[in-house]
Symmetry: C2
Subunit: 164 residues, 2 copies
DNA sequence: ACCGGTAGTAAGATCATCTGACTACTATCG
DNA sequence: CGATAGTAGTCAGATGATCTTACTACCGGT
């Protein structure tokens, strides 16, 4: 392989100096790719990554569009649009929210549950590879640390707890 | 504040059970938001987040479009398109790559460097908040762990080192 | 009852990204 | 040296993702 000036700077010496944003992007993106792989392997070719992002945030008892929007950090219009697509494809259903006449709850339909059952093992597989590479302590530490960061970095959570 | 069925499930009991992908998304997204804040505050209103993602990956000596595409995990057409926009806006310049007659190097122009000087403190501010919240050990550990994950999770890096 | 705030939908516009295709250059091999 | 496989970057067309503005109907507090 020909090594030229534009690539020679890409070796290990840079590894410690990458911006945190770039470092966070890589595993995040890998898990999204795994999600799409899991879906594709199971034949679910009609769910886009943006839809999957929304679907992943639907609570067991159902979630409102506005809540999904906040959790995914998109506008309610975007969330509504994606929910609409998911509903059309049979992944979710929308039912009235018994506690508020304006609202509706988005729930996973059977197809949505089935798709989730294909995504989870794909994610587990990637996480197992990470576990094998960095060890169980680091893995647990990572989850802990990210959970702590969420306390101050998640605009949705800050809104809810009044920490903002 | 009215607590209803759709929101009552969002409390602290769920915190330990969030998917890793969601946990990674939150800080990642926060840093992207900080980037855009830093730019806006300095008056750079003509750089989009996708452009910023590309610009962030330009090496000091310049980078090829294909390399930027790999690093940002988009197609070369997308990278080229974003570089074109950055060039038009004066953030980057493109010069011939002396080592390959087909290629060109994308370098930060003066405006690009100036914009980067506004982004960095905005990122540093957010990271300082994280540091204050989780402590220096966890912060260092996080960077280490993410750096290790990059070794196996970064398709670009795997290509380069032949680990794939 | 009034009013400020909120849930969700409509409409229009822009940004982000992909696939397929092509030309020109590079590196390798016989 | 010529042939060939592979690569860098550009063109063209299409689609997905997201935002802003606006609006109607419902909710909760005074």
């Amino acid at each position: 392989m020909h090594v030229d000036a534009s690539t020679s700077a890409a070796g290990a010496p840079d590894a410690e100096e990458l911006p945190l944003g770039v470092l966070l992007f890589i595993p995040y993106r890998a898990l999204e790719a795994a999600t799409m792989d899991g879906l594709a392997r199971a034949g679910y070719t009609d769910m886009t990554i943006a839809q999957a992002r929304i679907a992943a945030r639907i609570d067991p008892g159902g979630s409102r569009v506005t809540r999904l929007a906040e959790a995914a950090q998109v506008t309610k219009q975007t969330a509504g649009f994606l929910v609409e697509q998911l509903e059309r494809a049979g992944y979710v259903e929308r039912v009235p929210d018994p506690t508020d006449g304006r609202a509706r709850l988005v729930k996973l339909a059977a197809r949505g549950h089935a798709a989730r059952q294909e995504i989870l093992p794909a994610l587990a597989e990637v996480e197992a590879q990470w576990l094998a590479h960095i060890g169980p302590e680091r893995m647990a530490h990572l989850r802990e640390t990210l959970t702590m960061l969420r306390e101050i970095a998640d605009p949705f959570l800050k809104d809810r707890t009044g920490l903002k």
